[in-house]
Amino acid sequence: MRLDPIQEDILREQINIGIGRAAATLSELMGTRIELSIPSVSLWDLDEWWGRHQADLSGMAVVQDFVGLCSGRAILVLPRDSGLRMAQILGGDEGGSDELDLEMSGILAEVGNIMINGVLGSLSNATASRMNYSLPEFYGDPEQAFLSIPPEPVDRREVLVADADFHVSQYAVRGSLLIAFARGGIEALVQGVCALGTDAWEAQ
């Protein structure tokens, strides 16, 4: 499937709303302002995306599966330096060790949970459908997040990728949220989001 510019625009807006909520929550946790860039949204073949980004994504991932109108797996991938930095700021251990320990992985699981909840919650609202979610799981290696078996069959070929950059304490944190959908999931999402979006636009 390919997204036309309108579909891409509507998805970007919904994802932007979700990331904005997540950033607000993280700001509250950190007690510091987080500046957010407008995320880029695109549809990728998973293997191609991974092949392009594998080298610079030697980092970590947080995974949450979801079931509903559309089902699939959401994966937040954080480059190692971004993830560590964020965990250090949130854990009040700025300038601390660069080792990913239990405490830091707990923090990052919470960060991932907040980010994924924000985006999936926004998409869920946009489709006026309720989804069920698994608890977040932290992976020290993003590849493991892709290789682990999801609860339902997932169309591994297509992923919706939202790349976001935000600045925390003058430090640029980069992250990619990948949403891999079960068969027909992306079409259902796009259809649901765009139907409501168009209605809203027309109503406006």
Binding site: S97, E99, M104, E110, L135
Partner: protein, 415 residues
């Protein structure tokens, strides 16, 4: 928020199930009213199950009213998305005493909140006691900080040691350079000490060293050795008439003439004032005379700027009667004196002096005869260029007078 019928809604099977898990677990509705409270929470909080059911969790544990927790708990009910509260950020989801930590400390907890699949109006809260892990981690971190500090000190010490080593190396290098420089200066000084500043020839000291060495070698190996001593004629007069700078030029030119005739193993030196010496190892009397004669010719035919300059020569060669270098030098000096006495600009070998003295005695005897002038001219002619007839030889060339003059300094020699 206050208690409602939540307690009444507690599902018995669920409550029993919650008792089985090794976590604190409770079920709450969107108002945080408790409808299930497991045995672990009874143990941790000291709140009996009967009291807990219907209790508002946020009223009992006010920490839950913090915006950063309350908002996310509300979102769980609003969106159905689960929420996790990490131990590192939130520390104590429910403020209860720690069982493993220091006395009076609170339990460190990691909490998850998710809707019950079969009843989306209720959420299950599970709380994991990670106090022990947190304290172990804190100890590990403290140890790591200590190790990093030790490592930093070690690195600083190593850097300091390295800097010290480099400083010593630099000082050593500077010292070596200073030594080398000193050695170069010493060589230069030695060179200067052995060199005549005006002419660049060896000086008197260096000449004496060379003479002593050459004399010893010649005696030991039975080799011939000759010495030529020369004195620029009428140099004082030249100086007086043309100035000292012009005199210096004459001395420099004289040294050039000597150097041009010198072989690689000969030593040419300025002996003092306008007096020069040329030490000729491996050279017999005949060859030495030839060398001296060539030099005399060089003086005579050289293009002098102000006036003709000539030089007188005395030559001596080692023979059985010479017992020391000083004696050889004395013989050359005597021969030079003789050249001066005979009218300058001539070469005299010491071994020929007896002949000259004899001739002069005869001249003195015939002084009163009409032929005396002619005889004197014949004697003066000898092996020489133009002579100076104005010099009166008589006071110097009597046999006794000649010898006594040699024993004194050369300053008594005619110029």
């Amino acid at each position: 928020m206050s208690g409602d019928a939540g307690g009444e809604r507690q599902s018995l099977p669920l409550a029993r199930t919650l008792d089985l898990i090794p976590l604190g677990a409770c079920v709450v509705n969107s108002k945080l009213v408790v409808s299930a409270w497991n045995r672990t929470l009874v143990e941790w909080t000291g709140i009996p199950r009967e009291e807990a059911l219907g209790m508002n969790l946020a009223e009992r544990f006010p920490g839950l009213k913090a915006a950063r927790i309350q908002g996310r708990l509300r979102a769980v009910f609003d969106t159905g998305s689960p929420a996790v509260f990490s131990a590192a950020i939130h520390k104590h989801f429910l403020a209860v005493p720690s069982r493993h930590g220091p006395r009076g400390s609170l339990m460190v907890q990691q909490t998850q909140v998710r809707l019950l699949p079969e009843d989306p109006d209720l959420a299950l809260i599970t709380i994991d006691d990670v106090t022990s892990e947190a304290s172990q981690l804190a100890a590990l971190r403290a140890e790591r900080v200590r190790l990093v500090s030790v490592q930093a000190r070690l690195l600083a010490s190593m850097e300091e040691a390295e800097a010290g080593r480099k400083r010593v190396e630099r000082l050593h290098s500077e010292l070596q350079e200073t030594h080398a420089s000193l050695e170069r200066k010493n060589v230069e000084l030695a060179q200067l000490a052995a060199t005549d500043a005006l002419t660049g020839l060896a000086n008197r000291r260096r000449f004496h060293e060379a003479l002593d060495n050459a004399f010893s070698l010649a005696i030991r190996e039975s080799l011939p050795l000759s010495l030529v001593m020369l004195d620029i004629d009428s140099f004082k007069k030249y100086n007086d008439e043309h100035g000292h700078l012009a005199g210096d030029d004459v001395l420099r030119r004289a040294s050039e003439i000597l150097l041009a005739r010198r072989r690689s193993y000969d030593t040419a030196a300025r002996y003092g004032g306008e007096e020069f010496v040329l030490l000729l190892p491996m050279t017999d009397a005949r060859s030495a005379l030839q060398v001296a004669e060539r030099i005399r010719g060089d003086f005579e035919h050289s293009d002098w700027p102000f006036a003709q300059v000539t030089s007188s020569f005395g030559v001596a060669t080692i023979s059985g009667s010479v017992s020391s270098a000083a004696e050889l030098l004395g013989q050359a000096d005597q021969a030079l004196y003789c050249s001066k006495g005979l009218g300058r600009n001539r070469v005299t070998h010491f071994q020929e002096m007896d002949l000259f003295v004899e001739q002069l005695r005869r001249l003195e005897a015939a002084d009163r005869s009409p032929q005396r002038s002619l005889d004197r001219e014949l004697v003066r002619g000898g092996r020489s260029g133009p002579h100076d007839s104005s010099i009166d030889l008589r006071p110097h060339l009597s046999a006794d007078g000649l010898v006594s003059a040699r024993s004194n300094s050369s300053s008594s020699r005619p110029g």
